[in-house]
């Protein structure tokens, strides 16, 4: 299976995603330049973290206009698995592939630290190998990860079971203390209604080897490997 890792000007976790899927997971990976208009027949698209266009103006605001994005949208609407990590998540929000927007962290500071997220949904291509309610220890590294959506939207997300990851305490409760940035209902990650597009602020690709602190993030990539092998893409 092949992952397409989209490289925007200012992406800086593109190589980390590449390393995770290619050298740790053992799948194939291709970088796709943001000006390309083909996804090279990839089975899964990753929008990596970083500071596309410097995060100037607004995170993801300029990147969503990249020439590659119409292809990403087409891939997504055809049911292909798309993962947006951190800045990639912010781009998915700006592009309207996922609902809501990001505000500054309530600390008003960039925060780089390990957090715990609970897997709320296991019927997405990126969580199907997880146990329901499984708690993952993964790092965050962002200044604008304070998820916001109108209350009705949040309610709809909950009702449709689109909240895929939630910030929780060590014991697994979604407390305010466990919420690192002020996100609405501790939301750390979402999926679209088709469930094939997933975005999250934490960095699973940074948590794929114990040597660097945690391997809890690998399960997201193993999940999509299974999903693609099982041909779920067409089922969706």
């Amino acid at each position: 299976m092949t992952f397409a890792i989209v490289v925007f000007p200012g992406s800086n976790c593109d190589h980390d995603a590449y390393h995770a899927v290619k050298h740790v997971l053992g799948a194939d990976a291709e970088f796709v330049w943001h000006k390309d208009t083909s996804l090279k027949g990839a089975d899964c698209v990753v929008l990596p973290g970083g500071f596309a266009h410097g995060d100037y103006l607004r995170t993801g605001a300029i990147a969503r206009f990249s020439p590659v994005m119409p292809e990403v949208v087409r891939f997504a609407t055809s049911g292909g698995p798309v993962l947006g990590i951190c800045n990639g998540f912010q781009i998915l929000l700006e592009a309207g592939l996922l609902p809501g927007a990001m505000l500054r962290n309530r600390s008003l500071k960039f925060q780089c630290e390990y957090v715990r997220v609970r897997v709320e949904q296991t019927d997405t291509p990126f969580t199907r190998a997880c146990a329901a309610g499984q708690v993952l220890r993964v790092p965050i590294a962002h200044g604008e990860g304070n998820y916001y959506a109108e209350p009705e939207t949040v309610a709809r997300l909950e009702k449709n079971r689109q909240v895929v990851f939630r910030y929780v305490s060590e014991s697994g409760e979604a407390t305010d203390a466990a919420n690192p940035n002020g996100s609405a209902s501790n939301i750390a990650g979402l999926c679209n209604e088709g469930r094939n597009v997933v975005g999250l602020m934490p960095h699973p690709e940074r948590a794929c080897e114990l040597a660097v602190g945690s391997a809890d993030g690998l399960v997201l990539f193993e999940s999509v490997l299974q999903a693609v092998a099982g041909g779920v893409r067409h089922a969706l």
């Binding site: 206009f65 008003l108 916001y148």
Partner: protein
Amino acid sequence: MRARVFVTLKPSVFDPQGTTVAEALHTLGYPSVSDVRQGKYFEFEVASASAAEVRRIAAEVSDKLLANPVIETYRIEVVDPARV
């Protein structure tokens, strides 16, 4: 002609920056200041002689790029040298 665009968070959206500024101002001894909202301010030149045209373009680029409708609203001012 010069256009000005003011982008602010919708009233319904909690503004962590504004809140922090307000708190800071209170500790600095300005109790009379309240309800601080922080936004973005853009100024740019539009090569056109018609104020209406400038306003149209400013609105277009605000909708497309400068503001995020999910959380923000904007206001436009056109500085018409003829009128200044």
